[in-house]
């Protein structure tokens, strides 16, 4: 028996007394209508950035990774920083759709679709960096355990870098399946509303002939639940494995046992910041203020505050342990981080990641759209610097002082980074025009319990 639980305490999730049909109308409007000038403007900018990235990548392929600013001492820098940054951003999508589904957090429903899309696009951007950092991307199939002619030599399954190959590819493909399965019923809605034969054909093909019988829905719900159940440890494992790329090494500043939880918290932190950056713009441009409400923003801000505090504690713990362990190499690595030539990177990281999210303790700030937008940008920048600080400051002061050096990015590296940002936004903008950005059919299941209308009908407790 379905019971409609109406809470007298919680605020409605969907504002404006919507009916089922109105939800369909509102969500399908951006897909069916014409793009406005804001869309075209942002698309042009994103596409231009992407083209710059493609040129930079082409130059890298032609000339090798000598065109990057890497040197013998600093062998990993922007590329891995960007890789970890993008992977971290991707994690919020899975967190919202899988972990919040398991916790039965209904507010996730307005944002899960676009957050999952963001995951997929972010992982695509992330994947580019290791692929091109190999220098000869056409030989990347060597990373797979394939039978070969090199004396039946296999890939090394003891290496965290190979774990990464498996983790990222599993994560990407499972997220893609999870996202697409969720899209099928909504694509069917667009198919059944389509007026032109071409649209009908395209969405008919994309929706795989979804018909929505009770049997289908029963299986569908079970599949989503199980996928959420296995995506949850998956998303935690992915960033744990990413952190093990560093943590299993013997470099001071890298080989710390705190890395896995610290990286996972950081990933959620930066991911939510990116979700907010995107959503605040998307709700305005697509007119979805009644679906992505201040309540959603506030909930996400609370998660940012929590994970930001975890990250802050992790920074301080690292410092404390560097002193407490009595290891002079470890101590030097951290003193150098904070007061060495890269002090400005460390200071930006501390300011953006530890101090700014604490502003969300004030309700006025965490319910303000503008303040949230600004802080979310700060967090994105701060989390980029976190990875840069970890990677470059640990490497540039080697065990041999004669090889101490500095790292400077080249124009090409910057181009690739800007290019991935362009790629990310290009994909997201196309997504917002082609697919429903809100899981509209899922949202209908909570409408009765959480709309304005149902709230008016219940007595309020005094």
């Amino acid at each position: 028996m379905s019971e409609i639980v109406i809470s007298a305490v919680r605020d409605p999730l969907v504002l404006g007394e919507k009916s089922y049909h109105q939800i369909t109308e509102d969500v399908c409007r951006p897909v069916e209508g014409k793009a406005n000038k804001w869309w075209w403007m942002s698309f042009t900018i994103a596409f231009t950035c992407m083209c710059w990235g493609i040129c930079s990548l082409a130059y890298t392929i032609g000339n090798g990774i000598g065109s990057w600013g890497l040197n013998k001492t600093v062998g990993w820098a922007w590329d891995i920083t960007n890789f970890v940054w993008w992977i971290g951003i991707g994690h919020a999508g899975t967190l919202i759709s899988a972990i919040l589904l398991l916790f039965r957090q209904r507010w996730r429903m307005s944002i899960n679709r676009s957050a999952e899309a963001m995951t997929i696009f972010a992982v695509i951007c992330a994947g580019l960096f290791p692929v091109f950092h190999t220098g000869r991307p056409w030989l990347d199939y060597w990373m797979l355990p394939l039978p070969n002619q090199f004396g039946s030599l296999w890939v090394n399954f003891n290496s965290p870098l190979l774990w990464d190959v498996f983790a990222i590819s599993t994560y990407f493909s499972v997220s893609l399946v999870f996202w697409y399965l969720g899209l099928i019923p909504d694509l069917a809605t667009i198919r059944d509303r389509a007026i032109t034969p071409l649209r009908k054909f395209i969405y008919g093909t994309l929706s795989f002939g979804w018909k929505g019988t009770a049997r289908d829905w029963g299986r569908y719900e079970e599949v989503c639940l199980v996928l959420a159940g296995i995506s949850t440890p998956l998303v935690l494992s992915v960033h744990t494995i990413v952190s093990m790329d560093f943590a299993t090494s013997i470099l001071p500043g890298w080989h710390t046992t705190i890395f896995p939880p610290y990286f996972v918290a950081g990933a959620i932190f930066s991911g939510f910041a990116m979700v907010l950056t995107l959503m605040l713009v998307a709700r305005k441009v697509l007119g979805l203020e009644e679906y992505i409400t201040i309540q959603h923003i506030e909930s996400m801000n609370k998660i940012i505050m929590l994970t930001g505090s975890i990250v802050g504690v992790a920074y301080i713990t690292e410092f404390f342990i560097a002193w407490y362990s009595g290891n002079p190499f470890e101590a030097y690595a951290f003193i150098n981080r904070a007061f060495g030539p890269y002090w400005w990177a460390y200071a930006s990281m501390m300011t953006c990641n530890v101090i700014t999210p604490q502003l969300f303790w004030f309700k006025k700030i965490r319910t303000s759209v503008i303040a949230t937008f600004i802080i979310s940008i700060f967090v994105n920048i701060g989390m980029w610097f976190e990875r840069f600080v970890i990677i470059v400051t640990s490497l540039h002061r080697d065990f041999l002082p004669s090889s101490w050096t500095m790292y400077h990015p080249t124009f090409i590296e910057m181009g690739i980074f800007v290019g991935t940002i362009g790629l990310f936004f290009t994909l997201f903008l196309v997504f917002a025009r082609v697919f429903p950005v809100i899981a509209l059919n899922e949202l209908k299941t909570v409408l009765k319990a959480t709309s304005d209308k149902s709230h008016k009908n219940i007595p309020h407790h005094e």
Binding site: Y20, W154, F166, T170, T189, F208, G209, A214, E221, V226
Partner: protein
């Protein structure tokens, strides 16, 4: 005796649930229900057993684990013994800690994809399939149930039962 179907068209998920109960009490068979979103609690009413797809997923996952372990044993221990950093791969169980991450990923990979493919095949939703929902509005805001009727049944009685529970249309 030919089979006939009556379609009861509803505009609300709660109404169709009440309607379905009433129809079942009359001893009729509901062959199908179409809805824009899952109606919780309708499965036992119309007599659909709980799906076993999660069991499939477990089996796929177990297959993934086994395949991964078999692969490590063959590649790392049996076929080509790599000695990296003075840490050779003597036996599968001795090197197991290093193999945990990929074993886990392989389990998840097989469980997730296996289950998704099973779901698509079982529900016959694949690229190129034409949808068979009776009304395009069932993916928007309309709920339809299909009732199998025999020649001996009283059609008017069924129609009035549907109407009384809030059906907006009844089609034969």
């Amino acid at each position: 005796m030919s089979k006939k179907y009556i379609l009861g068209v509803y505009k609300d998920d709660h109404d169709i649930l009440v309607g379905a109960k009433k129809i079942r009490e009359m001893g009729l068979k509901i062959t199908n229900v179409w809805s824009p979103f899952p109606i919780h609690g309708i499965d036992p009413v119309i007599g659909i057993p709980r799906t076993r797809i999660s069991m499939c997923s477990f089996l796929y996952g177990a297959t993934g684990t086994t395949l991964a372990l078999l692969m490590f044993w063959y590649m790392m221990v049996h076929d080509w013994h790599i000695d990296i950093g003075g840490k050779p791969n003597f036996a599968l169980y001795k090197n197991l800690p290093a193999f945990i991450p990929v074993t886990f990923e392989s389990t998840v990979l097989c469980a997730a994809h296996g289950m998704a493919i099973t779901f698509l095949l079982r529900s016959k939703i694949l690229p190129g399939v034409t949808a068979s929902n009776p009304d395009p509005r069932t993916t928007d805001d309309t709920f339809i149930m299909q009732i199998e009727v025999k020649d001996t049944d009283n059609l008017e009685q069924i129609k009035s039962a549907l109407k009384s529970t809030g059906a907006s249309e009844v089609r034969v």
